[in-house]
């Protein structure tokens, strides 16, 4: 059978498949959805209560204007592209904020306003994967939910984190999803604006510094989410308010063995000559580095090696 015959046969067989029309049901459902939305907008109020409600509404609007209440949730995604969605209680997107240029590329010409949150998550994560921001080597995604109602934002966090994980597993990628939720903080908002990152990343770094006070905020701000996730894992830090689902990828980093070979070659020390050797993952100048200390019979050595490029950042030998 030739290709053309196969195609014709397939076409013919498929065109014979029909489903019963559900047009009437569809139109009824559409009408129902419209009614529901209208009802949500203007609930019928008895005339005698209308004036009181009007006064109350004016007061609330005034309070809203002066207090900037958090009546919507913010869901942000940070890989390196940093995108924030403002959503309403119906989980529909009201606004999209790009925190950096990579985010603009990811969003391309997508208009996500008024879409359902799950549709927007699908589009954003799919695009991050398509543009190579999420890969086997960089598989960590930070999901952050901000809102005033603790229970609601926890449920939202869990749903979005699960969606992200599922979407990426659909691309055969095992992701590590770091998720957290928190209340609005003016200080964190200001830091996010200053450094051009999401409030979620600011919060994650702040929590990390709380546990490891040796780090400065500016030391960690340029690290990717995968770097931060690796650091958390390496230092065995457990957070009460952060959930990490899945293991972060280490394939983009040098292994302990590669680091050892590199520093020993540089110092011209053989394995047999080693008296002691230890290395530790650390941060220097916004880079993940291995801090390596070793000794042979003649000297003690200290090296710092970039964990990704393998470049020797600094070394010191004491005879």
């Amino acid at each position: 059978m030739k290709n053309k015959e196969i195609k014709n046969q397939l076409k013919k067989e498929f065109q014979d498949i029909h489903m019963p029309s559900r047009k009437e049901q569809l139109m009824r459902d559409i009408e129902y959805i419209d009614q529901l939305e209208v009802q949500q907008i203007k609930r019928k109020i008895p005339r005698k209560y209308q004036i009181s409600f009007l006064a109350l509404a004016c007061t609330l609007i005034f309070a809203f204007m002066i207090s900037k209440p958090q009546n919507v949730y913010s869901v942000s995604f940070e890989v390196n592209p940093s995108i924030e969605l403002k959503i309403n209680h119906q989980r529909r997107v009201e606004d999209v904020i790009c925190h950096n240029d990579d985010a603009l590329l990811v969003l391309d010409e997508m208009d996500l306003k008024n879409t359902d949150l799950d549709v927007a998550v699908n589009a954003i994560i799919g695009s991050m994967f398509k543009y190579g921001y999420i890969t086997e080597a960089k598989n960590s995604v930070l999901v952050s939910v901000q809102g005033s109602d603790k229970e609601a934002r926890e449920a939202l966090k869990q749903d979005v984190a699960t969606d992200v994980k599922d979407i990426l597993s659909g691309y055969s990628l095992k992701a590590s999803v770091v998720s957290q939720d928190y209340k609005f903080s003016k200080e964190r908002e200001e830091l996010a604006e200053k450094y051009g990152i999401s409030v979620g990343k600011v919060t994650l770094i702040k929590k990390l510094i709380n546990v490891s006070p040796d780090y400065e905020f500016a030391d960690l701000v340029d690290l990717s989410i995968n770097d931060l996730n690796t650091l958390i894992h390496y230092k065995n830090i457990q957070f009460k308010t952060i959930t990490i689902d899945g293991v972060e990828s280490h394939s983009g980093y040098l292994s302990d063995e590669e680091v050892r070979t590199k520093v020993l070659n540089h110092a011209q020390v053989t394995l047999n000559d080693l008296k002691s050797y230890e290395d530790e993952l650390d941060v220097k100048n916004n880079q993940l580095v291995y801090n390596v200390n070793f000794m042979d019979a003649y000297a003690s050595y200290n090296y710092q090696v970039n964990a990704i490029s393998g470049e020797i950042v600094s070394f010191d030998v004491k005879m």
């Binding site: 059978m1 030739k2 290709n3 196969i6 195609k7 046969q9 397939l10 076409k11 067989e13 498929f14 065109q15 014979d16 498949i17 029909h18 489903m19 019963p20 029309s21 559900r22 047009k23 049901q25 569809l26 139109m27 459902d29 559409i30 959805i33 419209d34 010409e109 208009d111 008024n114 879409t115 359902d116 799950d118 549709v119 699908n122 799919g126 398509k130 699960t162 969606d163 599922d166 979407i167 659909g170």
Partner: protein, 170 residues
């Protein structure tokens, strides 16, 4: 001709919800066939077809008229389907069972080629074949819908036809 008509209807839907009925008439069988090829269950495919048109209605304000209304609707149906499949697997709710290859085709004709296709091609491959051969979409549109590179779509398409040809020769 149909593409042009569909495009106009989708644009009109932004202002007039009654047009949805006409869009449904134009596309429901095509959407159903495509979804069926993914889920292999008549009832489930019918429900998802219904959901697809609800989403078409709810998201029509996002449609940018570029002459590809059909591809846009198929993209929605694909998203609706995979989202539902993910949800089902996450909740481990088995509301729908997968039909045997023979079921779901009963009462029509002998769907020899479809059965063969479902048996020997993987999901991506049969989707590409259906979208191109049956729905008449361009490879470029298919690449966009499935989020694959054009070269991957072309490779998979030719490989699938070869597989089908070979299985017929055996």
């Amino acid at each position: 001709m149909l593409e042009k008509k569909l495009e106009n209807l989708v644009v009109e839907l932004k202002e007039n919800q009654d047009v949805l009925a006409q869009i449904y008439d134009c596309m429901y069988d095509e959407v159903y066939r495509y979804i069926y090829s993914i889920v292999h269950n008549k009832e489930y495919a019918q429900d998802l077809t219904h959901d697809t048109f609800i989403q078409v209605y709810r998201n029509v304000h996002l449609y940018k008229p570029k002459g590809n209304a059909k591809a846009w609707i198929i993209t929605i149906s694909r998203n609706v389907t995979y989202m539902s499949l993910r949800k089902l697997s996450r909740e481990q709710v088995v509301d729908y069972e997968i039909d045997g290859v023979d079921e779901g085709m009963n009462g029509i004709h002998d769907k020899m080629m479809i059965k063969r296709m479902m048996k020997i091609l993987c999901q991506d491959e049969s989707e590409i074949i259906i979208l191109h051969v049956v729905e008449g979409l361009k490879f470029k549109e298919i690449a966009q819908i499935m989020d694959l590179k054009l070269s991957t779509v072309l490779n998979k398409y030719h490989r699938s036809l070869k597989k089908l040809r070979k299985s017929l020769e055996e």
